[in-house]
């Protein structure tokens, strides 16, 4: 890591010094008979810059390979939701196309730059257009994009057009405010009570998501903070609200995101397929946790040396993050998601107090 940095800096400095020496050389030359300070590229410049263009192609390839080699490990692990599997497949297909197109076009571009670097007294090939060629490179991208569009649209509508009257689905409200999340469960009746920010000051401010106490549907609603639990393999319908500014409920491991908009209720739905415990066993996640704990261990040593408390070791948990700029603590607006087995979930939810207990 540090080695790479130093290497890069040295390389860049090398180029700089080399070029400066070239300037110096030119000045020296100018002392003599040959005087070329027209500041227009000469044959020599064309030769050097053309070769550098080819070197740059190699550089692009190396950066690409380096990034894929070293950074694939930081990417999100396999999806923990049902639709996420389709999402990931579409992503990798798109990526394959992108990488293919990128590799070919950059190669041709830089190779041509190298191959046709200017030579004195050579005339370029006079060519204004070629209809067949142009047709080919209009139609091929068009076909590829068309296929991607179709695939994308089918996936999109299968993700977004869920049946929100589904009786088996669990309904949860994600409630955003500067800078924390709350989750509201619909309770026994699986119907969320009406709510509005105008009720937030009811019950000495303990009505933390503004449930309308005159709506009986809301009496059994359960509001939780810090973390919320969901049962594995059951469809969840999220209803998002915000009380102040725009937020975005981002659950990267489930390939899920939806903005929270004050004044309206937005929706997203997914079915989690891996419990938190299962995900902790995932090889990618285990490796990630190990890396992070190594970093935390090193940081702890520094803290201890300063006489401060050491950091707790890190354990993986799913996260609900805020992805829409929302003010000072945007960077730390997160909530823990726990995916439980059905049994554990039922146990957890039955231990949470309902809204009616606040009303009394």
């Amino acid at each position: 890591m540090i080695g790479l940095l130093t290497g890069t800096v040295l390389l860049l400095m090398g180029i700089a010094i080399w070029q400066i020496s070239k300037i110096h050389q030119l000045i020296q030359n100018n002392m003599g008979i040959k005087k070329d300070d027209s500041q227009i590229a000469t044959e020599k410049d064309n030769d050097l810059q053309g070769k550098l263009m080819f070197a740059f192609l190699v550089f692009i390839y190396l950066v690409t390979i380096y990034c894929f080699w070293n950074y694939t490990k930081v990417l999100l692990p396999e999806s923990a939701s049902e639709h996420g599997v389709t999402y990931d497949r579409l992503m990798w297909i798109s990526f394959a196309i992108i990488l293919f197109a990128q590799t070919i076009t950059q190669a041709i571009l830089h190779y041509f730059a190298y191959k046709y670097r200017g030579i004195k007294n050579r005339k370029a090939f006079f060519l204004t257009h070629n209809n067949n060629l142009e047709l080919i490179w209009t139609i091929i991208p068009a076909i590829v994009f068309f296929c991607l569009i179709i695939y994308g649209m089918i996936t999109w509508s299968s993700i977004m057009n869920f049946n929100d009257q589904d009786e088996d689905a669990l309904i949860i409200e994600l409630y955003a405010q500067q800078w924390n999340w709350k989750a509201r469960y619909a309770g026994q009746d699986n119907v969320l009570g009406d709510a509005n920010v105008r009720f937030l000051n009811d019950f000495e401010g303990r009505n933390s998501v503004g449930i309308d106490s005159s709506d009986p549907n809301g009496w059994d609603d359960i509001v939780v903070t810090q973390e919320f639990h969901i049962p594995v393999n059951r469809k969840i319908i999220f209803k998002m609200r915000s009380q102040d500014v725009l937020h975005s409920a981002y659950m990267p491991h489930f390939r899920a995101q939806m903005n929270c908009v004050p004044g309206m209720i937005t929706e997203f739905s997914y079915t989690p397929t891996k419990t938190t415990a299962e995900m902790r066993m995932n090889a990618d996640i285990a490796a990630k946790v190990e890396r992070i704990n190594k970093i935390r261990y090193n940081n702890s040593q520094k803290l201890l040396a300063k006489g401060e408390e050491a950091l707790d070791p890190y354990q993986f948990d799913y996260l609900l993050l805020c992805a829409k700029i929302c003010g000072t603590s945007h960077y730390n607006m997160q909530m823990k998601i726990v995916v439980d087995t059905e049994k554990d979930y039922n146990k957890w939810i039955s231990s949470q107090p309902a809204f009616s207990s606040i009303m009394q």
Binding site: L5, Q19, K22, L26, S38, Q39, I40, A41, N46, Q49, G50, F56, I60, V63, C67, Y71, V74, L75, L90, M91, S94, Q102, T105, L109, A113, Y116, G118, K123, A124, F125, F126, T128, H129, N130, W137, F145, I149, M153, W156, Q177, N196, L200, N201, D244, V245, S248, P252, Q257, V261, P262, M264, T266, I295, R296, L319, I325, G327, T328, Y331, N332
Partner: protein
């Protein structure tokens, strides 16, 4: 028919020259323009309130590009340091941020302010006003063969409105609670409520006023460009003989006229919500223990209005850069631009499509998912003309005789980043794939490459190429080469790894990524990105030095240093009012007769009449 047209054209040219004479209070009203009239010029009319397009171009270049660009890039370095080494103390923060960096540690609010103003300055001030302002002003009259812009006065007014808006924007950096900090997209309610963040007080008011003035400036400029290109072309300069630069500037101006007024309406409605208690964008809000009175508005409406400009805006930024690149690649390849008509067609297609793709920024904003499908479709359509342009550039290089002047290097660099950045657009433009990378660093990497870096390369290419026309001197090519190579290496070094940070799920605009442990292992990638950003940012000083040094001490230029075909190189080196001594040159061919068989030189300027038996090559 043709003869009649020409006659009309001649009459028109005559009339315009006459008007121009009137404007300068010139007693000589003949169609031949005499430059040696004795028109008194003071320092103020020549350098400050100038109505000469060449001087206005220089004014835009110095204020819009060099000055604002310097500030915008410096800001990015400041917040990149914070991202790499979060919450550490730096002397540089102490110096530049003062009370916003207690004990040298950057405050989270000023972090958001820095990213907001960086975005605003780079997108609007540098790449919209700076780029178009410099090159449309310089090249439109010179390349179409006009004495000046249709209205020199409006042109001057447009620059000074731009100057005023820059001053207002920069003055917002000095208000008590800090400048606007809601992101450059200023989505309400965050931007509407001073209770929601400190930057949404006076700082935001100044932002909105500055943008309103900016839009006025931009509209005046755009109308002037359109009128000039349509009406003031010299004899023989038919639309399909226009250099691609002019096509790009013309279409850019048209997109600007269509979309900027919508941003003005969004800004005005936001001002109403902020200051006069209306509820266009606000509803059901509880902030700091208080229920606000707003009812019935929707932030989604603002997003629609904003992106109705915002998306065409990225084409307003990139099209001039592509136009500049077309011209420079053709000239330095010593070859005609490949597929001229296809290039014009793709500019027009991009312009049309650019106005119907805006909601791809809003797939997950809460709008109806059906709209998502529609906008996915139009968005991926726009990739087709973009791909055609990239392929045509590559085909232009094929079997050329490439002259690697610094402008040419930056043009090839543009094609490279335009491809790299454009390709990831396939992911972001697909509503499905957007779900999980929306508002992450993946987006930041994508748009910086495809519109930020690409447009900057176009800008640099243009400056290196037309510097002799602007300042009568050449820039130092070796410093240009160093500048180019350090810049391109750092640009990929910054933005290539950034895609991975985004795909790891890291949301953008986070003050620190270490508030909770999940992203701890991204720390060293962020350090690499920042190191490249620092190298790349600092290497711009080489350009700055080269620019300023060459302005005064550079090698004096010859009239047509790049052996180019276009009209601006037939004008005398010395800047004169009216651009050409005597009559305006007439045009007999398109701008791309490079290396045409049957000619001794490898270029045939547009002013050279078609020879006997010569094939006409206008495509």
């Amino acid at each position: 028919m043709k003869g009649k047209e020409n006659k009309n054209l001649r009459i028109r040219v005559k009339m315009e020259s006459k008007e121009f004479g009137d404007l300068l209070d010139d007693k000589n009203q003949s169609s031949d323009f005499h430059q040696d009239h004795h028109h008194k010029e003071t320092f103020i009319t020549k350098y400050i309130f100038s109505q000469d397009h060449k001087m206005i171009a220089k004014q835009y270049l110095l204020t819009g590009v060099l000055f604002m660009g310097f500030i915008g890039i410096a800001m990015s370095l400041l917040f990149r340091i914070q991202i790499a080494w979060p919450e550490e103390s730096f002397a540089v923060y102490d110096i530049f941020l003062g009370k916003w960096a207690p004990e040298g540690v950057m405050d989270p609010n000023i972090y958001l302010a820095l990213i907001t103003i960086h975005g605003t300055i780079m997108v609007f001030f540098v790449l919209t006003a700076g780029l178009s302002g410099t090159f449309s002003n310089l090249l439109i009259p010179l390349q179409i063969g006009a004495r000046d812009m249709a209205s020199g006065f409006l042109n001057m007014l447009s620059f000074w409105l731009f100057f005023l808006s820059s001053v207002i924007m920069l003055s917002s950096l000095f208000v008590e609670a800090g400048p606007a900090a809601a992101g450059w997209t200023v989505y309400p309610p965050l931007s509407a409520l001073p209770q929601a963040q400190p930057g949404s007080g006076l700082g935001m008011t100044l932002w909105l006023i500055s943008m309103a003035v900016f839009i006025a400036s931009s509209l005046l400029a755009a109308l002037n460009y359109i009128v000039t290109v349509i009406n003031l072309r010299t004899k023989g300069m038919s639309l399909f003989r226009l250099p691609l630069t002019i096509w790009a500037f013309l279409v850019t101006a048209i997109i600007g006229v269509i979309s900027f007024p919508v941003l003005l309406s969004a800004a005005l409605l936001l001002i109403m919500d902020r200051s006069f208690g209306t509820s266009f964008f606000l509803s059901d809000i509880f902030v700091q223990g208080e229920v606000l009175h707003y009812q019935g508005g929707s932030p989604v409406l603002f997003e629609h209005l904003f992106w109705f400009l915002g998306h065409p805006e990225v084409y307003i930024v990139i099209l001039p850069a592509l136009g500049i690149t077309s011209e420079i690649i053709a000239t330095n390849s010593r070859k005609p631009i490949f597929g001229y008509r296809a290039m014009v067609a793709s500019i027009l297609a991009i312009a049309f499509l650019s106005t119907i793709v805006w909601a791809h920024h809003m797939f997950i904003s809460g709008m109806n998912p059906f709209l998502g499908s529609v906008f996915t479709f139009t968005t991926l359509l726009i990739a087709i003309p973009s791909a055609v342009k990239a392929f045509n550039y590559i085909a232009t290089l094929w079997k050329g005789n490439l002259q690697f002047n610094p402008g040419m290097l930056f043009s090839i660099g543009l094609v490279s980043t335009f491809i790299t950045g454009g390709l990831t657009g396939i992911i972001l433009g697909d509503s499905t794939l957007d779900i999980n990378v929306h508002d992450t660093y993946f987006v930041v990497a994508h748009f910086h490459l495809v519109m930020g870096i690409s447009a900057l390369y176009g800008l640099f290419a243009g400056v290196y190429h037309w510097f002799p026309k602007l300042f009568k001197r050449m820039m130092n090519k070796n410093l240009g080469y160093i500048h180019f190579w350090i810049t391109v290496i750092s640009a990929y070094g910054v933005f290539f790894p950034m895609h991975f940070v985004g795909m790891a799920g890291l949301p953008r605009r986070y003050y620190t990524n270490t508030a909770f442990p999940y992203f701890d292992d991204l720390a060293d990638i962020n350090v690499i990105i920042t190191v490249f950003a620092l190298i790349g940012g600092l290497s711009q000083l080489i350009f700055l030095y080269n620019f300023i040094y060459s302005m005064f001490y550079g090698k004096k230029t010859v009239q047509n240093p790049w052996k180019s075909n276009t009209l601006e190189w037939t004008a005398p080196i010395k800047h004169i009012h009216g651009n050409w001594k005597g009559e305006i040159p007439h045009v007999h061919r398109w701008a791309y007769d490079y290396s045409k068989p049957g000619h001794k030189e490898d270029f045939v300027p547009q002013t050279v009449p078609i020879g006997e038996n010569e094939e006409i090559t206008e495509h």
